[in-house]
Amino acid sequence: MVSTIPEKARRVLRDELVRLVNPGFDRSLKVDGDGVPGVVLVVGVNGTGKTTTIGKLARVLVAEGKTVVLGAADTFRAAAADQLQTWGSRVGVPTVRGPEGGDPASVAFDAVQQGIASGVDVVLVDTAGRLHTKTGLMDELGKIKRVIEKKAPVTEVLLVIDATTGQNGLTQARVFADVVDITGIVLSKLDGSAKGGIVVQVQRELQVPVKLIGLGEGVDDLVPFEAEAFVDALLAES
């Protein structure tokens, strides 16, 4: 095969990028608690798709034969708990919710408690979207995690980053990592024209792998992240 210089350059670039994204990273979800349910906490700034991700994640877990409880710890945004409950009923899992405007940490605690009492495998906790610049809200998030851990260890903290996000994604990830020690990234809305290149930098700086990608609003639109496919999409001609 005769390859031109641009082609070679492209191949080198691709290889370098793939290495940067590191296909060898452990991208499996930690949802197994030790005798207690595995707890997955989902965090992120406003409007990245946390609730939708939880809905889809619940579906994946149910399909794997796991029992799931959802915790609607977004008590701030209007109708967020309803939104989660709707997702829950679509896949047939119960949702634990508290009063609107109530303490999100207590809702999370109740959800985990109920999860333990009914012996489920996984508790998925939804949190309100918060900008990483709001100290008070970030403190609240830290509290949610601490309170949950009185009952069961949080096995996975997923940061949802919108693929359209630009350079600010890195700042977001840094602050969230600082507060709740994120263990994985979900790259949402990758079905649009945005490619989410910022996660390369996030993953490299924080050493936190991208675990899942969101490809739409349907129940089955959550798939595992694949380094090579991601890089190919990144380099695709638009």
């Binding site: 409007g47 939708t52 109708a79 939104q83 630009g166």
Partner: protein, 533 residues
């Protein structure tokens, strides 16, 4: 985080002193820095290239201004170009000649349309209009409920004939909403649509159908300020798919630099009409091109800072504290006044963030990064461990009282001593500055002592040298006392931080005069005096 454009350019121009005119080579060297600064702010690459070409053209052969150094001159050109693109076509919301005026909201998922609908509804209602929110997002689970709740909070009616969650036809809802509005005499209809991707042809068609059904007076494209390089593709897809008349930039309360604003304004040529900067229904404002330009360049956003200060500070309380400090009326300025002022500053957000918004703060970046927010907690604990008598008159704190306070606050006597001494120092400094209606501020901020080896005396002289109050320094007409009282505290921390060593005093002076404050500040004060915005 990122260096500001000013920092970058200073580096380039380090060896350029004494030249009387910028050569092409000088400009090329700066172009790279400008490019990086803009890319870091998420400005689209194509736009960056065009923009740089325009700046270069303007900059070549410009006479070095007497008062400005080359750095400032380039920054000035860049800033002016940015403002001209961002504000090129600034305009107000149009209202239909024959009501109802129809405003349609469109945008990606999660850009903030539903929240904006509520804000816009409240804003219009406060202007004496009677808006109706229409729930045409039947896609996302419970979007209809969310709009109902938001409408309820804003005290605005919501038209939601369909339950949503995939049930119902949004085009039909939109169509009937207009009839409903006409029969019930609503004069503005705000149509909230589902979030959709630019590449989703089917949903784009649906948006176009909604548009054709309601014939909107204004279509607003809602875009997240955090959006990256994809901003242009997305905006173009929406411009082609449904068309829009104006842009709303949401989530500006984060720390994204918002370069997307520039990309969209430049490529699509539609004005940015509103800025949405918070989760509260009132966190919504007209768009200010000059502030956005500073923000994109990372030059600090002084006006936002002052506004935030206005929002958080209790003007009356500040004025009282200032009076106490200056005249001794209403009791001595004590530690509890100090504490309440400090808490007020803190309510505006993390200290490092607030200080970072001050132009010229780059010079003290290291100190800012070294601030430990928990220092303030410790300080609060110490003050709370004092009796009310001790707080209002710290002079009575003798050795035994100090050791009791230290025990109560779980700290050492040395810490208590440090606080009390700093308080007295700062108080003396404030009183010596008390010429104008100045004060009520933040003497001796904690964290300052974390600054590397800085003689205490220095910070005091600095405080006097650079009058902490921009209004005092730059505006010719004296501002009203309450406004003064609110603006001042935001500045004092910087003063008592001892702005780094040596050159920073002059730098800050330059940065400030470079910032063209007088007119803006003046405008702001006038606005303030006219009443609530």
């Amino acid at each position: 985080m990122f260096d500001t454009l000013q920092d970058r350019l200073s580096e380039v121009f380090k060896n350029l002193r004494g030249k009387s005119r910028l050569s092409e080579a000088d400009i090329d060297a700066t172009a790279r820095e400008i490019r990086l600064a803009l890319l870091e702010a998420d400005v689209n690459l194509g736009v960056v290239k065009e923009f740089i070409a325009a700046v270069k053209q303007r900059a070549v052969g410009v006479d070095i201004h007497q008062a400005l150094n080359p750095t400032q001159q380039i920054v000035k050109i860049v800033n002016e170009e940015l403002i001209s693109i961002l504000g090129g076509e600034s305009r107000q919301l149009r209202f239909a000649k024959r009501p109802p005026t129809v405003i349609m909201l469109a945008g990606l998922q999660g850009s903030g349309k539903t929240t904006l609908a509520g804000k816009l509804g409240l804003w219009l209602k406060e202007q004496g209009r009677s808006p109706l929110l229409v729930a045409a997002d039947l896609q996302r689970p419970n979007a209809v409920n969310q709009l109902q709740v938001v409408g309820n909070r804003a005290g605005v009616h919501v038209f939601a004939p369909e339950p949503g969650n995939g049930v119902g036809d949004p085009v039909q809802v939109a169509r009937t909403s207009i009839l409903h509005a006409m029969s019930k005499l609503y004069d503005v209809v705000i149509v909230d649509t589902a979030g959709r991707l630019g590449v989703d042809a089917e949903l784009m068609q649906q948006a176009a159908d909604i548009r054709d059904a309601v014939n909107p007076t204004e279509i607003l494209f809602v875009v997240d300020a955090m959006i990256g390089q994809d901003a242009v593709n997305t905006a173009r897809a929406f411009a082609d798919g449904v068309g829009f008349d104006g842009v709303v930039l949401s989530k500006l309360d984060g720390d994204a630099r918002g370069g997307a604003a520039l990309s969209i304004a430049r490529v699509i040529g539609k004005p940015i009409m509103f800025a949405s900067n918070g989760e509260g229904l009132k966190d919504f404002d007209a768009f200010h091109p000059d502030r956005m330009a500073s923000r994109i360049l990372g030059m600090g956003d002084l006006l936002t800072l002052i506004e935030q200060a206005e929002k958080t500070f209790d003007a009356e309380e500040s004025a009282k504290a200032a009076q106490k400090l200056m005249t001794g009326k209403g009791g001595e300025f004590g530690l509890d006044d100090f504490l309440s002022q400090m808490q007020a500053v803190r309510r505006m957000g993390p200290l490092s963030k607030i200080l970072g918004m001050i132009p010229g703060a780059a010079a003290i970046k290291d100190q800012i990064n070294a601030i430990d927010e928990r220092d303030i907690d410790r300080l609060e604990a110490i003050i709370h461990s004092m009796t009310p008598g001790e707080r209002s008159n710290p002079k009575i704190l003798d050795g035994s009282r100090r050791s009791r306070v230290a025990k109560g606050a779980g700290t050492t006597v040395a810490e208590v001593n440090a606080l009390v001494n700093r308080f007295f120092d700062a108080k003396k400094m404030m009183q010596s500055m008390a010429g104008g209606a100045f004060g009520g501020g933040m003497p001796g901020m904690p964290g300052a002592r974390r600054a590397p080896a800085r003689p205490a005396a220095k910070s005091r002289t600095r405080g006097k040298g650079v009058s902490g109050n921009p209004a005092k320094r730059n505006s010719h007409a004296p501002a009203d006392a309450p406004v003064d009282g609110t603006a001042a505290p935001a500045w004092d921390p910087a003063a008592s931080f001892g702005l780094g060593a040596g050159q920073s005093d002059a730098d800050l002076q330059k940065a400030l005069s470079d910032y063209q404050l007088p007119a803006d500040l003046q405008k702001m004060f006038n606005q303030k005096n006219l009443g609530p915005r």
